[in-house]
C-alpha cells in the first residue's frame, strides 16, 4: 500500500494508509480503458482473411472494389463494436444483480430476463413474424418484449405488499421463471421443423455477427440509459452489500435503490440479449476477475467490469472467429468454455 501523502498524518500503522478512492478509480479506469481500446483497435485487423490496414484506409481505391476496406468496415468492425457493447452491458449488469441479490454467484440471467428474451426470439423464429418495432427487426424486438415480460413478472412477485423487495423471493421467482420459460422454449422447438430449430439453436448460442451497424445503434441508447442509472448506484450498493438495515440507517433509500438496480440491470441485459442472443458467463466471470484485481468496492468494480467485459467479449469473439478458421465457433461456446471451469473454480474457492 502506498501512503497518499496528504496531511492527515498521525497514521501510526503504515498499512492503513490506503491509496484514496479517487486515485484508485482513475488508475483502474485508465488501465482497463487502455485494454478495451487496444482490443477494439486490434481485433478488427485480425481474422481468417489477412487484411492490410493501409490498403483498407486508402481512399484512392473506391470502396466497392476495396476488399480490405469491406472486410474491415462491413464484416469486422460492427462485430467488434457489438462485442464491446454486449460485453460491457452484461458484465456491469452482472455486478448490479450480484449486489442487488447480495449474492456474488448471481448472473444477469439468474432472474429470468434472458429466458424471457429467448422465448420471445424463439416464437418469432419458429412461428414467423414480420413486425419490426422502430429500429428493431422482428427477432430482437420479440426478444426485448419477452425480456420485459419476464422482468415485470419477477418484479411484481418480489415487490409484494411490502415496500422493500424480498431478495429471496426475487431469486426464487427468477429461477422458477427461468425453468418455466426454458420448458416453453423446448415445447416451441418441438413443434417446429428442423431448419427452424437449427436457426433457433444458433440464436441461443449467441452470435455477434449482427449484420451491420443498425442493430448496434438500436441497442446503444438502452445500454447508455442503463449505464447512466448504474452510475448513481455504487455507493448505495456498497452499503447494502454490508447490511441493508444498516444502509437504511445511514440514509440509503434501500427500496428505491433496489428498484433502480433491478430496472437498469434488466434493461442492459435485455438490450444485450436482443442484440446478440444470450451469451453466457460474461456477467459472472468478468466481475469476479475484476474483484480479484481491484477489490470489491462497487464504485471501482462497476466501471472496471464494464470496460473489462467489453475487452473480454471482443477477445472471445476473436478466438471464435480464428481458432478453427474458416469455420466459426459460436462466441457463446467460447465464453462458456473459458467461463465454465472458472465459475466452478470460484464455487470451490468460495464454498
Amino acid at each position: 500500500m502506498i501512503a497518499d501523502g496528504t496531511a492527515h498524518t498521525a497514521l501510526r500503522a503504515p498499512q492503513a494508509a490506503a491509496r484514496p478512492i479517487r486515485a484508485r478509480l482513475a488508475l483502474t479506469v485508465a488501465g482497463f480503458g487502455v485494454l478495451t481500446i487496444a482490443a477494439c483497435l486490434l481485433a478488427p485487423l485480425v481474422g481468417s482473411t489477412p487484411i492490410s490496414l493501409r490498403r483498407a484506409l486508402d481512399t484512392a481505391i473506391p470502396f466497392a472494389s476495396n476488399v480490405d476496406a469491406q472486410i474491415l468496415f462491413i464484416a469486422r468492425l460492427p462485430r467488434v463494436l457489438a462485442g464491446a457493447l454486449v460485453g460491457a452491458a452484461l458484465a456491469s449488469a452482472g455486478v448490479v444483480f450480484q449486489a442487488l441479490l447480495r449474492n456474488p454467484l448471481a448472473t444477469p440471467f439468474t432472474l429470468g430476463v434472458s429466458a424471457g428474451a429467448s422465448l420471445g426470439a424463439m416464437l418469432v423464429i419458429i412461428l414467423g413474424g414480420t413486425i419490426a418495432v422502430g429500429p428493431w427487426s422482428p427477432v430482437p424486438a420479440a426478444s426485448l418484449a419477452g425480456a420485459g415480460l419476464a422482468a415485470a413478472i419477477v418484479y411484481a412477485l418480489a415487490n409484494g405488499p411490502r415496500r422493500v423487495m424480498s431478495t429471496t423471493v426475487l431469486l426464487l421467482a427468477g429461477v422458477t421463471l427461468n425453468a418455466f420459460f426454458s420448458a416453453l422454449i423446448v415445447f416451441v422447438q418441438y413443434l417446429a421443423d428442423f431448419a427452424e430449430v437449427a436457426r433457433a439453436a444458433r440464436w441461443l448460442m449467441g452470435d455477434l455477427d449482427v449484420g451491420g451497424f443498425d442493430p448496434i445503434v438500436a441497442a446503444l441508447p438502452l445500454v447508455v440509459a442503463a449505464g447512466l442509472i448504474f452510475a448513481r448506484l455504487p455507493a448505495a450498493l456498497n452499503l447494502m452489500g454490508v447490511d441493508p438495515d444498516s444502509a437504511s440507517a445511514r440514509g440509503v433509500d434501500v427500496a428505491s435503490t433496489q428498484r433502480w438496480a433491478f430496472f437498469s440491470a434488466s434493461l442492459a441485459t435485455s438490450a444485450a440479449v436482443a442484440l446478440a442472443g444470450p451469451i453466457g458467463f460474461i456477467g459472472i466471470v468478468v466481475p469476479h476477475l475484476v474483484r480479484l484485481l481491484v477489490g470489491v468496492d462497487h464504485r471501482i468494480v462497476l466501471p472496471a467490469s464494464a470496460l473489462f467485459g467489453a475487452t473480454f467479449l471482443v477477445l472471445c469473439d476473436l478466438l471464435a472467429r480464428t481458432l478453427m478458421a474458416p469455420v466459426e465457433i459460436p462466441v457463446g461456446v467460447v465464453t462458456a468454455i473459458i467461463g465454465g471451469p472458472f465459475f466452478l473454480w470460484l464455487l470451490v474457492r468460495e464454498g
Binding site: 496531511a7 478509480l25 437504511s248 440509503v252 468496492d297
Partner: protein, 273 residues
C-alpha cells in the same frame, strides 16, 4: 438523572405497528405509547423479552421507521421530519452482527460510515479518511484496516462496526444487542470499549440487550418494555429489581449489589409459575 438536559433525545408517546400482509393477521402494535427522555451523554438500556418492541423502538429512534403516533425528537427536532441522511448524521446504529455479501476491508466498512456526510456520487476525501482512521484508532482496530472484514474474529468485527458507526460522527449511538453473538471475552472487550467511548466522546448511547448484568454494569438508566409498552423507566439502581425482572421475563431472580464489580448483579433462580 440531570433533568436540565433530559430534553435531549425524547420519545413522546410513540406508537408503531408493522403494515400487515394482505388479509392476514390483525395489526398488533409493536410499540404503543412509549415515552422516554434520554439525557445527553447518558447510557440507557432497553430491556425486555423477545418481540417486546426493543428493535422497533431503536429503528424509530434511528429515523428508519416513522412513528404512527407520537414523535421522537432530538434537541426538539422531530427525526421523522428530517431527511434520512440528515438523521443519519445525528444517529448511528450498531447491529447485533454484520454479514457483508462481499469481501470489504475493515477500512472500507468504516469509510462507509461517511455516507450520510457525502453527496450520492461524491467520493470520500482526505478529511473522511482521517475521520475513519480516528474511528479505527478509538476502537483499537487501526492495525486491522486493510484486513478483509470476514477474516476478523467476532470481537474485532464488532469493534470495526462500532468504528464505522463512529465515523458517522453521530450524537447518538443506538446499539441492538451489540454483544449477543460474542463469547464472554469479546463481550467484555466490546463492553469496555462502549463504556470508554461514552465517557470520552460526547456520545449518547441507547442499547437494547438481553444481558441484565451487562445492562447493570453499563447503563445509567433502564427502560423496560413488554408487549410494546413501557413497564418501567428510571435510574438503573431503582429500575432493576427482583420485581421488575419477574414482570419482564416471568423469572424469579436475585438482584444484589456486587462489591467487586461495583454494580447490581442479577442471578436468575427459576421460571416464575
Amino acid at each position: 438523572m440531570p433533568t436540565a438536559s433530559s430534553t435531549y433525545l425524547v420519545a413522546h408517546e410513540v406508537s408503531y405497528a408493522y403494515p400487515r400482509r394482505r388479509g392476514r393477521d390483525a395489526v398488533v402494535p409493536a410499540v404503543s405509547g412509549v415515552s422516554l427522555a434520554v439525557a445527553r451523554g447518558s447510557f440507557t438500556g432497553l430491556l425486555g423479552p423477545n418481540g417486546c418492541g426493543k428493535t422497533t423502538l431503536l429503528k424509530l429512534m434511528a429515523g428508519v421507521l416513522r412513528p404512527a403516533a407520537g414523535a421522537i425528537t432530538l434537541e426538539g427536532r422531530a427525526l421523522a421530519d428530517m431527511p434520512r441522511r440528515t438523521a443519519a448524521r445525528h444517529v448511528a446504529v450498531v447491529p447485533q452482527d454484520t454479514h457483508p455479501a462481499f469481501d470489504y476491508t475493515a477500512l472500507e466498512i468504516v469509510l462507509m460510515g461517511r455516507h450520510p456526510h457525502l453527496r450520492p456520487t461524491q467520493l470520500e476525501g482526505p478529511a473522511d479518511l482521517a475521520i475513519a482512521h480516528q474511528s479505527l484508532e478509538a476502537t483499537g482496530t487501526l492495525q486491522l484496516a486493510q484486513r478483509p472484514f470476514t477474516s476478523l474474529s467476532g470481537g474485532e468485527r464488532q469493534r470495526v462496526v462500532i468504528a464505522s458507526a463512529l465515523a458517522q460522527q453521530p450524537d447518538v449511538l443506538l446499539l441492538d444487542e451489540p454483544t449477543a453473538s460474542l463469547d464472554l471475552g469479546y463481550q467484555l472487550e466490546v463492553a469496555s470499549l462502549l463504556r470508554r467511548l461514552s465517557r470520552e466522546h460526547d456520545v449518547t448511547m441507547v442499547m437494547a440487550t438481553h444481558d441484565l448484568n451487562l445492562a447493570a454494569s453499563m447503563c445509567d438508566a433502564l427502560a423496560m418494555l413488554r408487549d410494546g409498552r413501557l413497564l418501567g423507566y428510571g435510574p438503573t439502581e431503582e429500575a432493576l429489581t427482583s420485581a421488575t425482572v419477574r414482570q419482564l421475563y416471568d423469572v424469579e431472580a436475585d438482584v444484589q449489589f456486587h462489591q467487586a464489580s461495583g454494580h447490581l448483579t442479577v442471578t436468575p433462580v427459576r421460571r416464575a409459575g
